[in-house]
């Protein structure tokens, strides 16, 4: 399951809408081992295409180095489909190289309503997973009588 803050979902959808009809892409970085997406990083689609995306290689190197230095990983790798449903294409599956990442697909084919779904892609096998959108990670998955830790 992907648990993700609403502002991050809104940011991915806004990016997808902004770049429509071209595909938009990016990541949400988070602390290594946390499985918690925190830092929104929209990326350049070097292909500028309605049917294909590729991270710009120079930008990717800079972003990956920043993550390395901060002990972060790409918790979410997202991109949009602008004319088809939010399901990984064969090309998406062949490139998927992060077995620990949540692959988020946003479809903008309907101008009024977007579709956002999340997948694991491991060794060429696609598994859809539920998405839980939360206002804050502090209160997710805690019982009603839990109180947040003092910070």
């Amino acid at each position: 399951m992907l648990v993700i803050r609403r502002d991050l979902v809104d940011a991915m959808v806004a990016h997808a809408r902004r770049d429509h009809p071209d595909e938009a892409c990016g990541i949400v970085a988070g602390p290594e081992g946390s499985d918690r997406p925190e830092r929104f990083v929209p990326m350049e689609n070097a292909e500028r295409s309605p049917t294909f995306y590729r991270f710009d290689s120079g930008e990717q190197l800079r972003v990956w180095r920043q993550m390395d230095a901060a002990d972060e990983v790409p918790v979410v790798v997202y991109h949009s489909h602008t004319a088809t449903e939010a399901y990984p294409s064969r090309t998406d599956v062949s490139y998927a190289a992060e077995p620990d990442a949540h692959y988020v697909l946003v479809s903008t084919r309907d101008p009024r309503e977007h579709e956002l779904r999340s997948y694991r892609i491991v060794d060429g096998v696609v598994t859809e997973e539920p998405v839980e959108v939360v206002e804050s990670y502090m209160f997710s998955h805690t019982g009603s009588d839990d109180t947040p830790d003092r910070s």
């Binding site: 590729r54 290689s57 120079g58 790798v77 090309t91 490139y95």
Partner: protein, 90 residues
């Protein structure tokens, strides 16, 4: 001095989990040959039919080797070779 090669998560099965390893060579092709002798299986993940696999990005220092000679890109002692999975799809 040697060449430092940064290995992405997906390929660390070939390096016993190490994030970076050392290698030597005067070109990227030689570095990959040297890597293969110590970390068998890496070459097949990087090279296909005599050129770099489209699924990976390889950088010498900050330069994507696709723009600087591919497998023939020059490498010298002290350089850093970074391998990243290409993030792409349709």
């Amino acid at each position: 001095m040697a060449i430092t090669v940064s290995i992405p998560t997906i390929l660390r099965t070939h390096t016993g989990g190490q994030k970076s390893v050392e290698a030597s060579g005067g070109t990227l092709a030689e570095v990959i040959e040297d890597l293969e002798t110590n970390h068998g299986g890496l070459k097949a993940r990087l090279v296909k039919e005599g050129s770099l696999h489209r699924f990976v990005n390889v950088y010498v220092n900050d330069e994507d080797v696709r723009f600087s000679g591919g497998l023939e890109a020059a490498v010298k002692d002290g350089d850093t070779v970074t391998i990243l999975p290409a993030v792409a799809g349709g």
